[in-house]
Amino acid sequence: MPPSIALRVHHALPAEHRDRLLRVAREVSFPPGTRLFDEGGHADRFWIVRDGTAALDLHVPGRRAPVVETLGVGDLVGWSWLYEPFVWRLGAEAVTPVGAYEFDAVAVRLMCLDDAEFGRAVEHWVGRVLAHRLQAARTRLLDLYGPHNSGGAR
């Protein structure tokens, strides 16, 4: 396992829960351009990127879906599988060849129900990823690379 994955999952998941989770993973790969999921679809699986880059995009009617963020090694792709109504909120596409651990959402949710401690750990992990992405999105709204007084009253 590349160190960055260990680090990411490690940050939020204690070793025993991490090992349990990775035991039910399938190793998959996607050529560039593959749609991992589309907005509005049923969120029945999720991924942790092993190598390559995936883009999250937003459906805008009549336009090509704009990319809102890219995810790389160690990143969690997809969180809608954990929260009802299990419907994808964004779309995801492989930008480069992507290697990933793929997880079955139902199986992992059942594991969470089965073992409350494991469930809490997984929810905590996904919640932290979500909080991080929310913070990043808000920071980018400040137009971080614009003039230093942007985001102000001007």
């Binding site: 890219t70 980018r140 690379y145 230093h148 942007s150």
Partner: protein, 268 residues
């Protein structure tokens, strides 16, 4: 150092983006002392006034050059300068990056927007002497692909890793989208053995320096460049004050160990 502007001729003008140009300058008479990467000049546009501008190229890396974004009267006047025009220049001012202090260590350069310009001579100098440093990683964030400066040059740098990420991709963009801090995960520097150099808008500096410190880069080895309004650049007028520091003399480059406290104060 001279505090009187000396005449420099614009010998070349290269547009970088819609509002940013690089001007290459040569002295008409006796030149100023050599600039070090990270230092700045007061550049005078006749009839308009003068502004502080960092060097984006120093003699050792290809002659004196400034990369300037038009945001107001003086910077717009400088951006409109043509080859042959004469500008007044005084300097060098300020504390540079002090790359020498990074010898024997990994080097991480993090640039936001036009912040890449003052870092460029530092990057070129480090790359010219690869044996002196460990890994050299360059991480660049831009608002959009169209606002990325030195675009073609970036691709040729023999760094361990050069990452570029944008906020708003266009149709052709196939690279990363998101905060420059996400690129820290893709660079394999050893935090405890790293010196970092950060330049960009202040919110970007804060986000980056905090992440670097969280990862374990020693605070005094995170060097950030802070911009403040400058008038005299000689430590007399007080315009550039940040807390106890006069940034024209004590900066613009300061350690995060010192800057963090000052930038966390709500009002100074």
């Amino acid at each position: 150092m001279t505090d009187v502007p000396v005449p420099y001729r614009v010998v070349a003008r290269r547009p970088e983006t819609a509002d940013t140009v690089t001007l290459r300058l040569e002295p008409l008479g006796a030149p100023l002392d050599d600039f070090a990467p990270g230092q700045f000049a007061m550049v005078h546009c006749f009839g308009r006034g003068e502004i502080p501008v960092s060097v984006s190229s120093v003699p050792a890396t290809g002659g004196l050059a400034h990369t300037i974004r038009a945001v107001g009267a003086v910077s717009a006047g400088l951006c409109a300068a043509r080859a042959g025009d004469v500008l007044g220049v005084r300097g060098p001012y300020g504390v540079g990056w002090e790359l020498e202090r990074a010898r024997g260590r990994d080097v991480v350069v993090v640039a936001g927007g036009i912040g890449l310009a003052p870092l460029r001579p530092l990057i070129l100098r480090a790359l010219a002497e690869p044996a002196a440093y460990g890994r050299i990683d360059v991480l660049i964030g831009a608002r959009s692909p169209a606002e990325l400066i030195s675009r073609r040059e970036i691709e040729r740098w023999p760094t361990a890793y050069t990452g570029v990420t944008v906020d708003r991709p266009d149709r052709e963009w196939r690279g990363d989208v998101g905060l420059v801090t996400t690129l820290l995960d893709r660079a394999e520097f050893a935090p405890a053995r790293t010196t970092a150099f950060v330049c960009g808008p202040e919110p970007m500096i804060r986000a980056t320096a905090r992440d670097l410190a969280f990862r374990g880069v020693p605070r005094d080895r995170i060097r950030v460049s802070l911009e403040r309004n400058m008038r005299c650049a000689t430590g007399h007028c007080g315009h550039c004050q940040l807390g106890p520091l006069l940034l024209c003399r004590a900066g613009p480059v300061v350690g995060w160990d010192e800057a963090e406290r000052l930038l966390s104060v709500r009002e100074l």
